[in-house]
């Protein structure tokens, strides 16, 4: 590579990083700036908007509801998906592709389209089961299915599931013990990944909640913005930073030492996931 070409390349790289870096970081800085503005033109900066978060009952209940939903969705995802995936690998390997296909469907059906079909179902649930916001977990589980499937799939591919479970079974373990004391400890990082991405997705969810008329965190932020822009932006920043922290942990999460079976590919690549706003199949396998 000639010297002038190397120089041009470096110049190009630096320009790209500065321009795009500004494009991505300035809006987040601007939100912080906006949320600390005083109430008048020349008023000094203050944290009133941040203090207002806890003094707005709607926000507090919405934050609680969203956190509860995140936990429920996460647990339900693990309870439903993990045993099914393990069982399919052990007993119905021919169904593996089918399960993968089903789990990835929500990526190709836009949330805004899926919610149209959910409305009648939720009308039935409201009348016959419960009108609690926590019923949203049913819908959210569908939403997180593709992402958690991929995370768990990576974890399961990295361990020798058949040998491990047979060893445990031949030593007299019941299936519950196999799951909890053999499978789960061997793929803890994949489970952590699947859980983190589920929590991040649920905390950022707006479409289902808004159109099924439930007030979760994002819907509440949207309502509050009509009254008090500063406070709503303060909550938005707080939620955003929380989700960023989760996702950053996810992408930097170290590979834990796993003595029994190797779990080298177990860490979940963010590269395989796609946007919250109704994304699609990430990268081709």
């Amino acid at each position: 590579m000639t010297r002038s070409r190397r120089f041009k390349l470096q110049l190009f790289r630096i320009t790209i990083f500065i321009v795009l870096g500004a494009f991505f970081l300035v809006p987040i800085g601007a939100m912080l700036e906006f949320s600390t503005r005083g109430n008048a033109i020349n008023a000094p900066r203050n944290l009133d908007a941040w203090k207002n978060i806890v003094q707005t009952p709607d926000l507090v209940s919405a934050i609680t509801a969203s956190l509860e939903l995140a936990v429920i969705t996460c647990l339900a995802m693990l309870v439903l998906l993990l045993p099914t995936m393990v069982w399919v690998r052990l007993r119905f390997p021919q169904l593996n592709r089918a399960i993968e296909f089903i789990c990835l469907i929500p990526l190709t059906v836009p949330a805004i389209a899926l919610v149209v079909g959910m409305v009648p179902i939720y009308r039935w649930i409201n009348i016959n089961l419960s009108d609690s916001i926590l019923t949203l977990a049913f819908a959210y589980l569908i939403l997180v299915l593709p992402y958690s499937y991929r995370a768990l799939d990576a974890g399961l591919s990295a361990i020798d599931l058949k040998t491990l479970s047979e060893a445990a079974r031949s030593l007299g373990a019941r299936w519950g013990t196999v799951m909890l004391r053999v499978v789960v400890p061997n793929m803890s990082s994949a489970i952590l990944n699947a859980s983190l991405i589920s929590v991040a997705l649920v905390l950022g969810e707006f479409t289902f909640a808004n159109l099924l008329a439930y007030e979760n965190l994002q819907v509440a932020i949207n309502y509050v913005s009509l009254v008090d822009a500063g406070t709503s932006i303060a909550v938005a920043v707080a939620a955003l930073l929380f989700a960023f922290a989760l996702l950053m942990i996810l992408s930097f999460v170290g590979r834990p030492p796993v003595p029994v079976a190797k779990a080298e590919d177990a860490d979940f690549e963010l590269g395989k996931t796609v946007s919250l706003s109704g994304g699609l199949v990430g990268r081709a396998r």
């Binding site: 929500p106 031949s170 994002q218 699609l280 990268r283 081709a284």
Partner: protein
């Protein structure tokens, strides 16, 4: 680890162990025992049946029936109403524009990353951050841009004080150009994620080969790297198109009145009186969206398959 276990049937094996376990679940030849292994799959299929396939079925059936349940195609001719055609046009325009900008921006960023140290901190930071930003959307993203380039946004006020008013004819942030600008925020990182593997597959030797044959930079891009990367680039652009085509939350937070794009029209139909009067229309719109996204995604998969022939 403990000392190796004595050689009993427990350890010897894979073979004996697996047949023993398999036999426990499977019907033994000749016996009339029924297999119950499938029971383990029932919860998954019941759940996805109720919350994934049933909604899809509701959409398909609902779009083809009248309110009383008779077969009709009127819901689809309903899409031909001028305001819905306009919404589809706007949706396609926004998706195409934000996909094109996102694809070019993301490809440039990917090139800047790919030409750097493959194990460097910069690359790791950019790819991780892209993973995070590609997930970013909805209400918060809309707010971020309102706080930045909105009428009281910090960048707008700063530039206005310095003599540059980019809203000479009124605020365009809450209209199509604004949506395009905001969508690029999650399109560029998505492009980086999906396009970087293809760029990484380009080998420096190919450039050296071009040079040793007397070709310059132009020849290299025109005849070597360009044709190789084109299918992947096109495929990724399609993915970006589908991504913004199905986005709803950001637009909903930004645009409170009216239905500029299809997702907003669907939302209006779901929540308004007119929508309840014609429930089939929302379903046919939803079905139309699914079909568009499905077609675009299939094309993306086909193009990616072509790329995967030479990457790695």
């Amino acid at each position: 680890m403990t000392a190796p276990l004595p050689d009993t049937t427990y350890v010897s094996g894979r073979g004996s162990g697996s047949t023993a376990i398999a036999a426990a679940g499977r019907p033994i030849a000749g016996s009339r025992r029924l297999s119950l292994t499938w029971v383990g799959l029932v919860p998954f299929f019941i759940y996805t049946g109720l919350f994934l396939f049933l909604p899809t079925l509701i959409i398909v059936v609902g779009s083809l029936t009248t309110k009383d349940g008779a077969f009709t195609t009127a819901n689809f001719s309903g899409i031909a109403q001028s305001y819905l055609v306009k919404a589809f046009g706007a949706s396609i325009t926004i998706s195409a524009a934000s996909a094109a900008i996102g694809a070019i921006g993301g490809a440039l960023l990917a090139y800047a990353v790919a030409t750097g140290n493959p194990r460097g901190i910069l690359r790791r930071t950019v790819t991780s951050a892209s993973g995070v930003f590609a997930q970013f959307g909805g209400v918060t993203l809309a707010f971020a841009f309102i706080a930045t380039v909105g009428y009281t946004g910090v960048v707008y006020l700063f530039l206005k004080d310095h003599g540059l008013d980019f809203y000479p004819k009124g605020v365009w942030l809450y209209d199509l150009p604004g949506l395009i600008l905001i969508y690029t925020y999650f399109q560029i990182p998505l492009m980086l994620i999906v396009f970087l593997p293809a760029l990484d597959g380009i080998r420096p030797q190919w450039r050296e080969a071009t040079e040793s044959l007397g070709g310059g930079t132009w020849h290299y891009w025109r005849y070597v790297a360009g044709p190789l990367l084109a299918p992947s680039f096109l495929g990724c652009t399609l993915l970006l198109f589908a991504n913004s085509f199905s986005a709803y939350a950001t637009a909903a937070a930004l645009i409170t009145q009216g239905g500029v794009i299809v997702p907003l029209q669907i939302a209006n139909l779901l929540t308004s009186e007119t929508g309840r009067a014609a429930p089939g229309l929302a379903k046919s719109l939803a079905l139309a969206m699914i079909v568009v996204v499905l077609v675009v995604t299939t094309l993306y998969t086909l193009l990616q398959r072509r790329t995967s022939q030479w990457v790695r």
